[in-house]
């Protein structure tokens, strides 16, 4: 036998090792700073969900003690949880940031977009988002997307080129070598940037716990009036539920992901602290979106199609 077998290193506390969270944090900060150095008008997509909260936290760290050289953009579906909107506005005020809002309701009111029969508004976000990017001339748009979320995202780049219609063409994406990101784009095009590309759901939660980041309350167990639709607990509300045959009940639930009220399901949980939430996730046998996002279940190719159209 001529093979060499690596010596087993028990305990990897070598002096120059980084923990996995430190490595991911350092990489994300590097991405934020690259964009600050190479783009004119970057913006962070901020929904008040945990991934965008972590993005904002990383951006604050990347430029401290100076202010973030970016503004924030929220695509408001009109069906957002009030707790999340309240968190959003408080955070913006606390850090003295500038918030742009692209409103789906506004587009419906103007007759530009039509309400879908199923009441779901997530697919309606694309047009307000792309028009806001065009009108504000944003050239880099930070999104909280992670490559572990869904199969179509596994091939997403950290710097993802979009044309003037925000469309994503898998064949136009550039190879990303070493940590040399290529942000060049033609006028009217922009780049979507995903600093959390290499993070998993668990990494995000562990980082929130380590950094002591505050989250909207709906991420923790609370009593809520919910009803069952398509196997998910949805919040009763004016957005379109419950319908006939759907009964409301009071349950102890929390949200694992925060999106539109019409398609974001709560899970039964009694986890009231971050520690308990992390334990629950580590033990969970369902991926984050599969359990709680109706829009990812649409079809095997649904996400791919929507990305091509300019979705997140």
């Amino acid at each position: 036998m001529t093979t060499t077998v690596a010596t087993v290193e028990e305990g990897t506390d070598a002096p120059y090792a980084l923990s996995h969270l430190d490595a991911l944090e350092s990489e994300a900060v590097h991405i934020f700073r690259e964009v600050a150095g190479e783009f004119e008008r970057p913006v962070i997509l901020f929904s008040g969900g945990k991934d965008s909260i972590v993005m904002l936290h990383l951006a604050l760290k990347a430029f401290a003690p100076a202010a973030i050289p970016f503004s924030l953009l929220h695509v408001d579906t009109g069906h957002n949880f009030p707790e999340v909107l309240e968190y959003r506005d408080r955070t913006v005020a606390k850090h003295g940031l500038r918030l742009h809002v692209a409103s789906v309701q506004d587009y419906i009111d103007r007759g530009v977009l039509k309400e879908r029969p199923d009441g779901t508004r997530n697919p309606l976000q694309t047009l307000p988002l792309t028009e806001k990017i065009q009108s504000e001339k944003f050239d880099a748009v930070f999104g909280g997307g992670r490559r572990d979320e869904e199969k179509a995202r596994a091939k997403e780049r950290v710097f993802s080129l979009r044309d003037e219609f925000s469309q994503w063409d898998p064949r136009r994406q550039r190879p990303e070598l070493w940590n040399l990101y290529n942000g060049r784009h033609a006028p009217g095009e922009h780049v979507r940037v995903f600093p959390l590309s290499n993070w998993t759901e668990l990494d995000v939660w562990q980082y929130i716990a380590r950094e002591g980041i505050e989250l909207p309350e709906i991420y923790f167990a609370h009593e809520r009036e919910v009803f069952k639709r398509a196997g998910m607990w949805l919040t009763a509300g004016e957005w379109g539920g419950p319908k006939d045959g759907e009964t409301v009940e009071k349950r102890l639930v929390r949200y694992r992901t925060v999106g539109d009220m019409s398609c974001t399901g709560a899970v039964d949980s009694d986890a009231v602290s971050l520690e308990q939430v992390i334990t629950e996730i580590a033990a969970s046998r369902l991926t984050e979106r599969g359990a709680t996002r109706a829009d990812d279940k649409m079809s095997e190719a649904a996400m791919e199609d929507r990305k091509r159209e300019g979705y997140f």
Binding site: M1, T2, T3, T4, V5, A6, V8, E9, T12, A14, Y16, A17, L18, S19, H20, L21, D22, A23, L24, E25, S26, E27, V29, H30, R33, E34, A36, G37, K61, A62, F63, P65, A66, A67, R147, D148, K151, A152, A154, K155, P170, Q173, P175, E176, L177, W178, N179, L180, N182, R184, A186, S197, L202, A209, R210, A282, G290, A291, E300, A301
Partner: protein, 444 residues
Amino acid sequence: MSTTTTEELSATTLLRFATAGSVDDGKSTLVGRLLHDSKSILTDQLEAVERASASRGQEAPDLALLTDGLRAEREQGITIDVAYRYFATPRRRFILADTPGHVQYTRNMVTGASTAELTVILVDARNGVVEQTRRHAAIAALLRVPHVVLAVNKMDLVDYQESVFAAIAEEFTAYALELGVPEITAIPISALAGDNVVDPSANMDWYGGPTFLEHLETVPVTHDLSHCHARLPVQYVIRPQTAEHPDYRGYAGQIAAGSFRVGESVTVLPSGRTSKISGIDLLGEPVDIAWTTQSVTVLLEDDIDISRGDLIVPAKDAPPTTQDIEATVCHVADAPLTVGHRVLLKHGTRTVKAIVKDIPSRLTLDDLSLHPHPGQLVANDIGRVKIRTAEPLPVDSYADSRRTGSFILIDPNDGTTLTAGMVGESFASPEPVKDEADDDGWDF
């Protein structure tokens, strides 16, 4: 995952690794098996695979389906790009760059290997070392991936014979060592049956080494930094100009190699000015020492003119600056790279205009033969190029520093990434075939 506590999970290290191998070698099955047996596949993902397998009339769930992403691939049954997979064990977090192994996808393998600490090369035990295996080994050697694993798959189809494995391991190891691959580990596996992937194989008690996953969990991810040249490419200058911080000037960047200490004398390139490090901010926390790949902000004693694109280095260990770069490149764009091509070159945080002066040779990966003066390089070609830059650049040899010895070429017209470049000699050992072009002394 279900048995790990949060405490165990919060203090692990991260390993980035890449796979190379073709559909026929069972690569997708290996990756699927790894995810499945390490319990990284969750119920709904597995259900989706079972549904898809059943709808195609397959009896058992096809683990390869776990890793097929885009519709085009599902329709054609191929893998067309680098896909990134994530999994964790109590001991370590993994990022896998999963790359297809066909000839025309050299660029994807180069992309995956560029950030990898370890590369897995898969062979079919029935076929042994084939042309493609040699190509994969050459790419791992060119990209200077520190660890290479030879996974001899389909051992179940050769009756788990030790002699078959030993012969393949020996042939491959001899070849890879000649290329200068620093560390090779051969493991006999059956991805389909699960032997030695996650669980030790009862069928191969003659094998005393680690399973594939054990090896991934224990391969060292730390480096001895004492022999590295410390390098900090400046990304951004932080100047709050607030009442609280009226005079703060911080140079932000990710340490590309080595380590820096407070009090150290440093030189800023390309200007050549010197100063001392007066402080290091590690994302809001002052530290005395910082090392690769930490993102930091460095403060200097003197107020000197520094901007994005500059490189901070130890005063006693500065690289030479040059406008003439000779490098091994992999061409990654569909349009060819030609002599006289005007490009942009991105090195670290600096992008400069450049021109392709010469393409001395093209390298055939199958037999490592050199073809002098091909005139151009097409997609997936690997070759030597000479580049003249508009401004002097402080480049290291890729052998010394993967981050400051690498660069990309960009098309100034449409922004396409054209070429991946590695400064200096191609292989760690003397090149198998001597390049006839005269050597410009880039071998430092």
